[in-house]
């Protein structure tokens, strides 16, 4: 290539790089400045246009990890209003050791507040992943697992819901746009009482959207299948057999056979159909669980009250 051709090529790459690195808002800002300089719009209009573009871009880019964290805390607090916590330190410590040793192999190992797990005092077979990594698992779900590998499969599935931000996707887009408009309109660091009240209403409604999905309506079938498939990869990266996902789902299918329409069965596609979907991707042979893993799992189970 001679110099005559090189220069325009460099220029094009330079502009492309500028666009890639700057993002849409700054391009809009540039456009606003040009329009303003040309006398097409006023300075006020240019500022407003830029600000709106930033807000829209921000909602599209989703919430920051910090905002996700505060939504997740409120979602967990709300679920705990219906499902009381199970105050068994030994079982909760084991659950967190297992869950946190899996979460580090997630493709999103760092969230604002980290991954934390808590047992719920309920016989219902269920698990909830609040945004940001607060994962709640019922005693009934634990009793549904035969060993650590199967419990790891349950936790990996929930971690993948967090990683893919499925909970946040339940929030109706209008609420976020409205909330961020309030924030954008207020330039001071601390919000006034009126803005705070408005923002709190949007926040509560957003939390309500997520809780409704977790406890009543459920994620979409596609989201469940995506979480299952990602969970198998996560299990393998962490050294657990992917096949544990299938045995867990089979056990759940048997357990839920007489509980159709309740709890987990209500919010998830049938365990059988999920296991069938995974059989095509899981080819590793079933292996007997490690004895140390079996023993520590059994010890945690023994420390819990039996199901009613």
């Amino acid at each position: 290539m001679n110099d005559r051709h090189l220069f325009p090529t460099i220029l094009i790459f330079g502009v492309l790089a500028a666009v890639l690195f700057s993002g849409c808002a700054e391009v809009t800002e540039m456009g606003s400045q040009i329009a303003q300089d040309a006398g097409v719009i006023s300075a006020d209009q240019a500022g407003s246009l830029t600000r709106s573009a930033q807000v829209i871009e921000k909602t599209q880019q989703e919430l920051t990890p910090e905002q996700e964290y505060y939504i997740g805390r409120a979602v967990a607090a709300k679920v705990l209003q219906t499902y009381p916590p199970l105050d068994r330190p030994q079982a909760n410590t084991y659950l967190n050791l297992l869950g946190q040793s899996l979460a580090i192999f997630s493709s999103r190992p760092e969230t604002f507040g980290g991954y934390h797990f808590l047992l719920l005092d309920s016989d219902e077979v269920n698990a909830f992943a609040a945004p940001g990594g607060l994962i709640l698992v019922t005693r009934g779900m634990l009793f549904c697992c035969a060993n650590e590998d199967e419990l790891a499969a349950v936790l990996a599935h929930e971690i993948c819901h967090v990683e893919m931000k499925h909970g946040l996707r339940a929030i109706k887009q209008g609420r976020l746009t409205e909330a961020l408009m309030v924030v954008a309109a207020e330039s001071a660091k601390q919000l006034g009482s009126e803005e705070l009240a408005s923002l709190t209403r949007d926040f509560e409604a957003s939390v309500g959207d997520v809780v409704m999905t977790l406890t009543t309506s459920g994620y979409s079938r596609t989201q469940e299948r995506d979480a299952d498939a990602a969970a198998v990869q996560l299990l393998r990266r962490a050294g657990y057999p992917g096949a544990a996902m299938i045995t867990m789902l089979q056990r759940m299918d048997e357990r839920l056979a007489d509980a159709r329409g309740l709890g987990f069965a209500k919010t998830h596609p049938s365990a059988k159909s999920r296991a069938d979907a995974l059989r095509t991707v899981i080819t590793d042979a079933k292996s007997a669980p490690d004895t140390v893993r079996q023993e520590r799992f059994s010890a945690a189970m023994r420390s819990m009250p039996a199901g009613r």
């Binding site: 090189l6 790089a17 930033q54 939504i71 967990a76 410590t93």
Partner: protein, 154 residues
């Protein structure tokens, strides 16, 4: 000749784009000696801290922290945008507008949660207790070793 100089300058500046300032977007994060969650911990960076990040490799950025420590941070801990207003923070170094800085760290935050607590709408006692369950890096390594779990770049 001039054009060749320009080309070299462009390539240098493109390379410089990979040594960019990035902000820590999680509350705190361990800096690892190797690009692995099981790597040795050489320090911790806090929310809003600005680090100099090199070209990422398989989800990990080589970083230099404000106190000069060099290590690795996972991409999920970092943001190209500023994430917090910090006293004395050199936000100008990240090259963003004051509007963006004003937006950062606001929205659904502790101020909103404090209002829900004050109104008695939600009780965060058990949420706080569950946040306190933290397995340290050594505990996780022991847990994995005892459970005969292979892989993970150990």
């Amino acid at each position: 000749m001039k054009i060749r100089v320009f080309a070299v300058l462009f390539m240098v500046s493109a390379g410089a784009a990979f040594a960019a300032s990035m902000s820590v977007q999680v509350r705190n994060c361990k800096v690892r000696a190797t690009p692995s969650q099981l790597g040795r911990v050489i320090g911790t960076v806090e929310y809003g801290a600005v680090v100099q990040a090199g070209a990422p490799q398989a989800g990990w950025y080589p970083v230099t922290t404000a106190n000069g420590a060099k290590g690795w941070l996972h991409e999920s801990a970092l943001s190209k945008k500023p994430v917090a207003m910090r006293a004395g923070a050199t936000d100008a170094a990240i090259g963003v507008s004051s509007d963006e800085v004003a937006l950062a760290g606001k929205g659904f935050n502790e101020q909103v949660e404090a209002k829900l607590r004050a109104d008695g709408t939600l009780d965060f006692t058990w949420v706080d207790r569950m946040m306190a369950f933290n397995a340290g890096p050594d505990q996780i390594l022991t847990f994995r070793k005892q459970g005969n779990l292979p892989g993970g770049g150990q």
